[in-house]
Amino acid sequence: MPNKKKIIATTSLAGCFGCHMSFLDIDERILDLIELVEFNKSPINDIKKFTKHCDIGIIEGGCCNDENVHVLKEFRKNCDILISLGECAIMGGLPALRNGIPLSECLEEAYLNGPTVKDANPRKIIPNDPDIPKILNKVYPCHEIVKIDYFLPGCPPRADLIWNALYALVVGNEMLIPYEVLKYD
């Protein structure tokens, strides 16, 4: 029944890829998973544009630049169910620590004031080329940009949590998330 396989897409926005790594930490169950699902657009397989409508989209990371917003909207358009995976997707996560600080101060610290640049950047260059994306004024959680259907907490969410949730969605069961696998750190 290969045509019955659920189709999954994943992406990493303003995250650290730790959530995708935790996904890989399902270890041997990866081999079970590929019996159950087909991967569409994902860094896992080099499918770069959605080639078909997907059942489940998994989003790691919040939105820190205009490209992140674009990708997230593409995912909403192409996926029936969207999951915010991990703290950055859910609430901006660690990168959102910059939300209380003017963006200009963040850029100046990195490119003008750092000890290895302050006497090495005489023209006071701050990257601004049209070839690189625009940074947003703050880091936005995904559900402030599009509707999100499920939230899996953790930094990163434990592999067992990802597996339990995904398995339930794929086979159509109710999610059974034992207290021990639901962690917020």
């Binding site: 890829f17 730790g18 080099d46 499918i47 770069k48 544009k49 490209e67 963040c106």
Partner: protein, 482 residues
């Protein structure tokens, strides 16, 4: 009329790295650029945080090798709490951290080889992109896929038992660690039922090297000529010149192997390292101050390390090192030798893990060293992808007031640009259209560095590419993607 070729991950979609190549009327390359399109602002937003948060906070830069950031920050904080510069910790503290680090080297290098490099080797560089991925390995060669999964899992389990958690752990704290290794934890890793134990990991790491060597024998011309250019190389080395990924002195050699930075104390890194800022990339360009930005850039990572070190202090990896050197000579400036060097380090990491697990110091109780507080601390480590710099200053309230981070892939910024330039020149110069093989080649060239382009596109394998040929008025002349 100059034209511009843009290569970028899927219509800016994955959006972490992107290449532009400018060509003149005769299709000769004027310039090529690898743009890094991510900016986070860590150096600013950690200011004001208490210093002891740094090891858990800054590791969130990267979920692929968080242990490197965790330990580099902890080493900097050791200096701040007066616990010495990498040598003042208690034996259990230093060895637990080393075990954590070699666990991470093992998992990260295994991930890169199996999930990334091996699809190219197994299915060929010209195979269809949808074939060249780890899922296809699982379908076509299940034994190898199981081995890949278990090698990565073993490294992750070593990390879980030393850091408390597989990703973003908390084991290292300023001045030491927060737990030792119980006998039970030790035996799970040392004496686990086959194949899940340290001895089998050594066997498998050795087999991976053999796999590469047999590939190399058949494809020597391709590997040796694909991308090569002279450069300096930099890494930490142990004081006696041995490979040491956790601690050492800074050494740099030039393209011929002559020492240009002679085993200096990294607490003085500011005397030697500067970074150039360019408007077209969020990633800075580090260089050796004495040589300036044009001549002073250097490579880091497995290739650079096997160029800087004199020997490897574990027997099996040393034997492989000697064989590698007999082929490469004193120094290698060949990009794809990086894969070979990475596998030799994987074997070294497996040997280190086994030796550390057998060390009774890991069950000692004396976890923390205290001393006289300092205002500044610098921590360096050899992360899987190369030398990682963390530099912090604190105030009287124990708040961080200055933070400087030079991450491994940043050190490789200019080398990756040189690789793109080399490949583009060899494939594009004088030709009027873009070929599929050019797309493949540039991808393979960047991937040899295992770049952590803000921890993304490289990890699961393929970097999706789109090339657009644009004239000076912005009209699209040609477009290809894969």
């Amino acid at each position: 009329m100059a034209k511009k070729i843009v290569i970028e991950p899927v219509t800016r979609v994955e959006g972490h790295g992107k290449v532009t190549i400018q060509i003149d009327d005769n299709n000769n390359i004027i310039q090529s650029r690898l743009h890094i399109v991510e900016f986070r602002g860590f150096e600013r937003f950690v200011l004001g945080r208490p210093y002891w948060e740094a090891p858990v906070l800054v590791q969130r830069l990267c979920g692929i090798c968080p242990v490197s950031h965790h330990l580099a920050a902890a080493k900097a904080m050791d200096v701040i709490v007066g616990a010495g510069t990498g040598e003042g910790l208690t034996p259990v503290a230093e060895k637990m951290r080393r075990l954590m680090h070699y666990g991470q080297i093992f998992q990260s290098h295994s991930l890169h080889f199996f999930h990334l490099a091996s699809p190219d080797l197994l299915f060929g560089y010209d195979a269809l992109p949808e074939k060249r991925n780890v899922i296809n390995i699982a379908i076509e060669n299940k034994d190898l896929a199981v081995q890949a999964v278990l090698m990565r899992k073993f490294g992750q389990e070593v990390i879980a038992r030393t850091a408390g958690k597989k990703i973003h752990g908390t084991g290292a704290i300023p001045g030491g660690i927060n737990k030792n290794l119980s006998i039970k934890e030790r035996d799970e890793l040392l004496k686990g039922p086959n194949p899940f134990n340290a001895d089998m990991m050594i066997t498998w790491a050795k087999a991976a090297i053999d796999f590469f060597k047999s590939y190399y024998k058949k494809n020597k011309d391709f590997i040796d000529n694909f991308s090569k250019f002279p450069s300096n190389h930099l890494s930490l080395v142990r004081k006696d010149g041995a490979l040491d990924l956790y601690h050492g002195v800074l050494r740099a050699v030039d393209e011929n192997g002559k020492k240009i930075l002679n085993d200096v104390d990294y607490q003085d890194y500011l005397e030697y390292i500067r970074e150039e800022v360019r408007s077209w990339s969020y990633m800075k360009f580090p260089y050796l101050k004495q040589l300036g930005p044009d001549k002073g850039w250097y490579r880091v990572g497995p290739l650079a390390r096997l160029n800087t070190v004199d020997f490897i202090p574990t027997p099996l990896a040393q034997k492989e090192f000697e064989e590698y050197k007999s082929i490469t000579g004193k120094i290698s400036n060949i990009c794809l030798h990086t894969h070979w060097a990475r596998l030799i380090e994987t074997l070294h990491a497996a040997e280190m893990i086994r030796d550390l697990l057998n060390d009774p110091d890991l069950q000692s109780e004396n976890l923390i060293t205290k001393g006289t507080k300092a205002k500044r601390g610098i921590g360096l480590i050899e992360a899987p992808r190369g030398t990682l710099f963390h530099d912090y200053e604190i105030n009287d309230n124990d708040q961080i007031i200055k933070c400087n981070l030079i991450v491994s892939t940043t050190n490789n910024n200019q080398p990756m640009n040189e690789s793109v330039n080399f490949i583009a020149k060899s494939l594009i110069n004088g030709k009027s259209n873009i070929s599929e093989s050019m797309l493949n080649a540039i991808e393979v060239g960047i991937r040899a560095y295992d770049p952590c382009l803000s921890c993304a596109t490289h990890a699961f394998g393929e970097m999706p590419l789109e090339i657009t040929l644009i004239d000076s008025k912005g009209n699209i002349i040609d477009k290809k993607s894969k």
